[in-house]
C-alpha cells in the first residue's frame, strides 16, 4: 500500500476517534448534568 494511502487511512481513524470520544463523552456528561440541575 502506498505511503500516501496509509497516511490517509491513519487520518481517517484519527478523525473517527475524535468524534467517537466526543459522542461517548457527551453521553456520559448528559447523565451527570442532571444531578446539578
Amino acid at each position: 500500500m502506498e505511503d500516501k494511502e496509509l497516511a490517509r487511512r491513519r487520518r481517517n481513524i484519527k478523525i473517527a476517534l475524535i468524534f467517537g470520544v466526543i459522542a461517548i463523552g457527551w453521553y456520559v456528561l448528559s447523565m451527570f448534568t442532571i444531578w446539578n440541575l
Binding site: 494511502e5 481517517n12 478523525i15 473517527a16 468524534f19 467517537g20 459522542a23 457527551w26 448528559s30
Partner: protein, 530 residues
C-alpha cells in the same frame, strides 16, 4: 481531467455471493442498497400500523382495538417511521451517493459502515417483538407512551418500554457510527481539488446532519439510560416523589428531538436543489447562501428545543427566548426557499417524476413550515398544543418534507443505481395519487385540530366524525398508493429501458460521469477537480 491514483482495490474485486455478500459487504453501494431496502420495508410496516389507527378513527367510539393497543401502535409507528424508515433512507443515499459525488473510492470506514447497518434489523425486531410476545401472553405489548417516552408513564409502562429503550440505544449507536463515517469521508476522502465549497449540496446537507447526530443522539441515549435505571435500579432521576424531575426528561428528550427534525430534513434539502437544477437545466442559484443557511439552521436547531413543551410550564423569559429563537429558523429557511424557487426561475423546466416530487415537495413542505411558525407562538400554542393540528403540521413536515423528498431522490437516482429507467407513467401516477391522498388525509386534521380534537385518543366527539372519515379513507388511499411505488422500484430493478450514464439531460456532478449502474468499485483512481 487529470487523475491521481489512490487505493488499489484490485484485491477486492472478488466478493462473496448470496447471503454472505450482504452480511459481510464493505462496499458502499451494497450497504446503501441494504439501507434503502430496509427503509422501504420498515416504511410499509410503520405505514400499515397507522392504517390500523385510521381504521379505528374512521368513526367515533371504539371499534377495532382497545385504547392501550391504539397507543402502542401510535408510539411504534412514530419510532419506526423516524428511526427505521426516514433515517435509514437518508443514510442509504449517503452511502450510495456521497463517495460517487466527491470522487472517493468508498466510505472512509467500510467495516464500521457494515456494522452500522447490521445494528438496524435487531433494533426493528426489538421495537416490534413485544406485539408478538403479547399474543403468547408475555408482557402487555409494545411501548404505549408515544415515541417521546415521557415519564411517569414510561416508568410505569410494561416490558415494551424496555424493548424500545434497547432499540433506541442500538439505533443511536448505528446513527452515530454512520455519522462519524460520513464526517470522516467528507473531510478526508474528497477528490483532489474538491474544496469544501465545491462539494455538492447533498454532501453539505449530510455533513451538518452528521454533526447534529453526534451532538444530540448521545443525549437521547443518556436520557433513556436514566429512564431504564429509574425503571429497574431504584434511581429517581425523573420521579418527583424521589426528588427527581419529569420535566427534565422532556428537556433532554427534545434536546435530541428537535434537531432530529432537521436530521431528517437536511439531507433532503441537500439533494432537492440538485434535482431542481437538473430539471431546470440551469445552475443552482445561491450555492453559498444555501450552504450558510444550512449551517444557520443546524446551529439554531440545537437551541430551540423547549418549544415542544411550552404548556408544561416554564418562566416567561424562557418562553420568549424559545419562541423567538424558533421563529428565527424561518429566516435561513426562507433563504433556502427563495434559492430553490430562483433555481427554477426562467429555467428550461421539464416535469419528470423526480421534478414533480421536488416541486410538490416545495409547496407541501412550505405548508409544514408555515404551520410550524404558528405553533412556535407561545400564546397560540396554548390552544394548538396536543391537538390534531400538531399531527397535521408534523406530517406536512415529515411525510411531505421528509418521505416525499426521499421519493424524489429515489426516482432521481434509481436509474443511476440500477442501470434501468423506471416506468415514467407509473411514477407520475404515484406522485399524483400520493400528493392528492396526502392532502386529503391531513388537511381535515388541521380543521379538527383547530376545533379542539386531541391527538393520541382512540375515541372522539361526534362533531369531528366527517373530517375523520375523509382523513381515514384518504389515509388508506395514501397507503395503497405506496404499493405502486414498490412495484415501480421492483420493475425498475428487474429491467427496463437502459439508462444512459448521465441519465438526465441537465444532470451535473461526478456521479453522472460513471456508468449506469456504476462499477462495483468506482473511482479507484480519483478524479482531479479543476
Amino acid at each position: 481531467m487529470s487523475t491521481t491514483t489512490v487505493a488499489n482495490h484490485e484485491e477486492h474485486q472478488d466478493h462473496p455471493t448470496g447471503i454472505m455478500r450482504w452480511l459481510t459487504t464493505t462496499n458502499h453501494k451494497d450497504i446503501g442498497t441494504m439501507y434503502l431496502t430496509f427503509s422501504l420495508v420498515m416504511f410499509l410496516v410503520g405505514g400499515s400500523m397507522i392504517l390500523g389507527i385510521r381504521a379505528e378513527l374512521f368513526k367515533p367510539g371504539l371499534q377495532l382495538m382497545n385504547p392501550d393497543f391504539f397507543n402502542q401502535l401510535i408510539g411504534v409507528h412514530a419510532l419506526i417511521m423516524i428511526f427505521a424508515a426516514l433515517m435509514p433512507a437518508a443514510t442509504g443515499f449517503a452511502n450510495w451517493m456521497i463517495p460517487l459525488q466527491i470522487g472517493a473510492p468508498d466510505m472512509a470506514l467500510p467495516r464500521l459502515n457494515n456494522w452500522g447497518f447490521w445494528l438496524l434489523p435487531p433494533s426493528a425486531i426489538l421495537l416490534t417483538l413485544p406485539f408478538t410476545l403479547a399474543l403468547f401472553g408475555i408482557g402487555d405489548g409494545a411501548l404505549a407512551t408515544g415515541w417521546t417516552f415521557y415519564p411517569p408513564l414510561s416508568v410505569q409502562g410494561g416490558i415494551g418500554v424496555d424493548f424500545a429503550i434497547f432499540a433506541v440505544h442500538l439505533l443511536g449507536i448505528s446513527s452515530v457510527m454512520g455519522s462519524i463515517n460520513i464526517i470522516v469521508t467528507l473531510f478526508n476522502m474528497r477528490a483532489p481539488g474538491m474544496t469544501l465549497m465545491k462539494m455538492p449540496m447533498f454532501a453539505w446537507g449530510w455533513l451538518i446532519t452528521a454533526f447534529l447526530l453526534v451532538a444530540t443522539i448521545p443525549v437521547l441515549a443518556g436520557a433513556v439510560t436514566m429512564l431504564l435505571t429509574d425503571r429497574h435500579f431504584g434511581t429517581h432521576f425523573f420521579d418527583a416523589a424521589g426528588g427527581g424531575d419529569p420535566i427534565m426528561f422532556q428537556h433532554l428528550f427534545w434536546f435530541f428531538g428537535h434537531p432530529e427534525v432537521y436530521i431528517l430534513l437536511l439531507p433532503v434539502w441537500g439533494f432537492i436543489p440538485q434535482i431542481l437544477q437538473t430539471f431546470s437545466r440551469k445552475p443552482m442559484y445561491g450555492y453559498k447562501a444555501q450552504v450558510y443557511s444550512l449551517w444557520a439552521i443546524g446551529a439554531l436547531a440545537v437551541v430551540v428545543w423547549a418549544h415542544h413543551f411550552f404548556t408544561a410550564g416554564m418562566p416567561v423569559p424562557a418562553l420568549l427566548y424559545f419562541m423567538y429563537s424558533t421563529m428565527a429558523i424561518s429566516l435561513p429557511l426562507a433563504v433556502l426557499f427563495f434559492c430553490w424557487i430562483k433555481t427554477m426561475w426562467k429555467g428550461s423546466m421539464s416535469f419528470e417524476t423526480p421534478m414533480l416530487f421536488a416541486v410538490g415537495w416545495i409547496i407541501l413542505f412550505g405548508i409544514g413550515g408555515l404551520t410550524g411558525l404558528v405553533l412556535a407562538d407561545v400564546a397560540a400554542d396554548a390552544q394548538y398544543h396536543n391537538s390534531y393540528f400538531v399531527v397535521a403540521h408534523f406530517h406536512y413536515t415529515l411525510f411531505a418534507g421528509g418521505i416525499m423528498g426521499i421519493m424524489a431522490g429515489v426516482y432521481y437516482w434509481l436509474p443511476k443505481m440500477t442501470g434501468n429507467m423506471y416506468d415514467e407513467k407509473l411514477g407520475k401516477w404515484h406522485f399524483w395519487l400520493t400528493a392528492i391522498s396526502f392532502n386529503l388525509t391531513f388537511i381535515p386534521q388541521f380543521f379538527v385540530g383547530l376545533a379542539g380534537m386531541p391527538r393520541r385518543i382512540p375515541d372522539y366527539a361526534l362533531q369531528f366524525a366527517e373530517f375523520n372519515m375523509i382523513s381515514s379513507i384518504s389515509a388508506f388511499a395514501l397507503g395503497f398508493s405506496q404499493l405502486l411505488f414498490v412495484y415501480v422500484i421492483i420493475k425498475c430493478v428487474k429491467g427496463g429501458k437502459k439508462a444512459t450514464d448521465r441519465v438526465w439531460e441537465g444532470a451535473e456532478g461526478l456521479e453522472w460521469t460513471l456508468s449506469s449502474p456504476p462499477p462495483y468499485h468506482s473511482f479507484t483512481e480519483q478524479p482531479t477537480i479543476k
